[in-house]
């Protein structure tokens, strides 16, 4: 085989490989969509982060503006300290809300930032003070049942014996109702 023919084919081979790699990077992976450049770090404390993991997205108005850095536990306050790496292009006011939402019905959890009205902006190393914890399924179900039960016991003394039947019926409804109905509200964009 001529040396030049071999070189040509090997060149084509390597070019195809690079093209495949670029194709995978651009079209298949999330390399283009996650082009977060230089970032600044802020922290936020949560009483319960639920299933939040490092490198989870940080979104505002539905657009990815950063990534969750590391998550640590503060033994003094018994809270989770989450570091957020936010893209330097976006500045948020000091009274921004950081909430933990779930993507989809049973999806991964992410942090949603809702801007407040403060004129002063968050800087590198600042702490977000307004936080909302993740929704924990079990707590919500027991909360729902408790609410339903206490509603019926409030009505019961006025209604009389028949109401105990309705109250248990309502409790039954509460039990058979899908707990997913209650989750419907926290699913913000």
């Amino acid at each position: 085989m001529e040396r030049t023919t071999i070189d040509l084919w090997v060149g084509i081979f390597v070019a195809l490989g690079i093209a495949a790699l670029l194709g995978l990077a651009m079209k298949v992976g999330n390399l283009t969509t996650s082009n977060i450049g230089i970032t600044y770090t802020v922290t936020a404390n949560f009483e319960n982060i639920g299933g939040l993991k490092p490198r989870a997205p940080v979104k505002s108005a539905g657009v990815v503006v950063g990534r969750v850095g590391d998550i640590k536990f503060d033994p003094a306050t018994f809270e989770a300290v989450v570091s957020l790496s936010v893209d330097k292009r976006y500045n948020f006011p000091k009274d921004t809300f950081a909430n933990i939402y779930t993507a989809g019905l049973l999806g991964e959890q992410y942090i949603g930032l809702e801007a407040g009205g403060d004129e002063a902006m968050l800087k590198n190393g600042d702490k977000i003070t307004q936080t909302q914890d993740a929704v924990v399924l079990e707590k919500m179900i027991s909360q729902f049942l408790f609410n339903k039960a206490s509603e019926s016991t409030n009505d019961a003394p006025a209604a009389g014996k028949s109401d105990s039947a309705t109250s248990t019926k309502q409790a039954d409804d509460a039990l058979t109702a899908s707990p997913l109905d209650a989750i419907a509200s926290p699913v913000a964009p």
Binding site: M1, R3, I6, D7, W9, V10, I12, F13, V14, L16, G17, A19, A20, L21, G23, L24, A25, K27, V28, G29, N30, L31, T32, T33, S34, K53
Partner: protein
């Protein structure tokens, strides 16, 4: 008398097993030694890069056809089977994610490695074995040229370079095959196909890990092929047995390494 024969037979088969076991351990050691010698003699493969390029042609470029055709079929089958099951749960738009992740994480590196072992690996083993049988390696030694630098090392680096390229091509062509089945044929939404995929396939965790896997497989398959050829008895029968051993050992090694690598890379 019969019992005596039984015992003798048993002892003989035990000794056989023991002998085969020690034989394998010995060969593992010899293989490791050749691996070390290859790495140490690699200077020439890079100083005279055309040697390596020539081998990239014979291992990589010649494997292109089988890799691309196989990838196409694998991608199409994945899309078909995936759609079959996903549409029962109303998640047929996730078929893109299924095809992409299956290929990029597992099938791309592993199937490419198995095909590579079968096509390029056996070619390498046969070539080296024949060179040994026809005294070409001896002739080289007598001419004060180290066969390891001149023959073995360039083929090793060619294999290590070709494997990730072939695996990336496999994944990409597979995804395209899956796209062709899912979108024009079945009717899954094209936009959803790509957007779901982009949202769920991570560059670092999935694609880069897949590439790392294919490099590891490249090292394993190429080294096994080279060793079997170099160690083959210099007869026709010896070389043919060596090529069979290359395929079997490479396949087992790839699958075993895949398990080890997957447990490192893809556990939370």
């Amino acid at each position: 008398m019969i019992r005596f024969n039984l015992i003798v037979g048993l002892v003989r088969s035990l000794r056989n097993v023991g002998h085969r076991f020690t034989e394998r351990i010995w060969r593992l050691g010899a293989g490791a030694r050749l691996f070390w010698l290859t790495l140490v003699s690699s200077g020439e493969s890079f100083r005279r890069f055309h040697l390596t390029i020539r081998e990239v042609y014979f291992t990589g470029v010649m494997s292109l056809i089988i890799i691309i055709v196989s990838a196409f079929f694998v991608g199409m089958v994945l899309a078909l089977q995936g759609y079959n099951t996903l549409q029962k749960y109303g998640s047929s738009e996730a078929v893109g994610v299924l095809v992409a992740l299956s290929l990029v994480r597992e099938l791309g590196p592993v199937v490419t490695a198995l095909l590579f072992a079968g096509r390029a690996g056996t070619a390498i083993t046969a070539e080296i074995g024949l060179m040994k049988a026809t005294e070409q390696l001896s002739a080289m030694e007598m001419m004060a040229v180290s066969p390891i630098s001149r023959v073995i090392a360039p083929r090793f680096w060619a294999g290590v370079i070709s494997m990730p390229i072939l695996a990336a091509l496999f994944s990409m062509v597979g995804i395209l095959g899956g796209y062709l089945v899912a979108v024009p044929l079945i009717g899954v939404d094209g936009g959803a196909f790509w957007s779901q995929m982009q949202a769920n396939v991570d560059w670092q965790d999935d694609i880069v890990n897949g590439i790392i896997k294919s490099v590891v497989f490249g090292v394993a398959c190429t080294m096994i092929a080279l060793f079997e050829g170099y160690d083959a008895p210099p007869t026709a029968e010896g070389v043919s047995h060596a090529t069979t051993r290359t395929v079997v050992t490479s396949s087992l090694a790839v699958l075993g390494l895949d398990f080890v690598l997957t447990s490192f890379m893809f556990t939370v």
